[in-house]
Symmetry: C2
Subunit: 223 residues, 2 copies
Amino acid sequence: MSTSTLTPSKTKLHSYWRSSCSWRVRISLAYKQLPYEYVPVNLLKSEQVSSEFAALNPNCRVPTLEIDGHVLHQSGAILEYLEETHPSPALLPKDAFARAQVRNLCGIIGCDIQPIQNLAVMKRSAANLPESEQLAARMAWSKEWIERGFDVLERELVKTAGTYCVGDSITLADIYLEPQVYNANRFKVNMEKYPTIVRIVEKLAEHPAFHAAHPSQQPDATE
Amino acid sequence: MSTSTLTPSKTKLHSYWRSSCSWRVRISLAYKQLPYEYVPVNLLKSEQVSSEFAALNPNCRVPTLEIDGHVLHQSGAILEYLEETHPSPALLPKDAFARAQVRNLCGIIGCDIQPIQNLAVMKRSAANLPESEQLAARMAWSKEWIERGFDVLERELVKTAGTYCVGDSITLADIYLEPQVYNANRFKVNMEKYPTIVRIVEKLAEHPAFHAAHPSQQPDATE
């Protein structure tokens, strides 16, 4: 990450409509009512590995957020930054244990599920197989890791959830949950096993910030 | 995570000597000089999936920390909790952008590298291959993901590092770095490509907290 020497300019989110990590940041920005310019990065055209984009983010990933004269990477780091610099409306509870509960759920999704079912890892997981078997193997790979994670998540949510993942206020955990359920549906996970997850996500869909951040509402959406 | 109804008792860390996520928490506890009881969980004997352990952590993973009458999971959530409840000595800078730099590095290791080279994922990555090819394929898998991540990390550290990962104070980023370098060595990554990473880790090894938390110093170490 680098610090610009220029005057802080407009907030810019480098995003891909279907990227679940970009989606997390879009929800926080919308929830906190922070205006931003949407800069599409087409992952299918490998725009994230262009030298121009690599100069902005050596990890060649979205989201990348230009804000307050800085360039920020990694959705988790960005969400905590937004929380610290724009604490209201809050996406973390005040109590330390409740915050740990929220971050535990974020970790289950953000470390144990999403990175493994991510496009690059999924592709690589089937690379040793004959080409005719690769598509099915990839789908099975991602479905399996999402189910493994959702089995855990459902058990945790039974203990922590109120209206939302932790109690009755929207938190970072909800921001991680909705994109992951979208991916679960893409990989044909049977969601009937996860009634608490389904209930929460249905409720989240009613919120204007979650609506505004949805992939279908982005300028680069193709479906 | 659950709240015990009993009086808060002794802090207990459920850990496996070689688990890099447990190692992160051990460093923080040592750095903040918080005494704790070490409870070994032998992952090679699948003790983490016992019904007793699953009751403590439905994710069946280490680290699991019993502290202040609570049970905490996920190393990232635990580290932030320790930071919030025992802020001194600090493992995060005060400045919001510097904190984002630290958490970006934590994310590169904690989301993009470690979960993918993790034992279960590594094993599964080669499960479709003939048994005679599995060991080599697993090793190649983990080595490849660590190298991909370290290529990025080295470029980021050139910008952020002083004596340590971000400036001249030890932060959470250093806590993530040391265990990941240990794994890199296990998977025979050529560390000559990463002079900044090597320099920082050599410096960290001199610190008593990093020494105390090292796998070789744990009661369940077998090597």
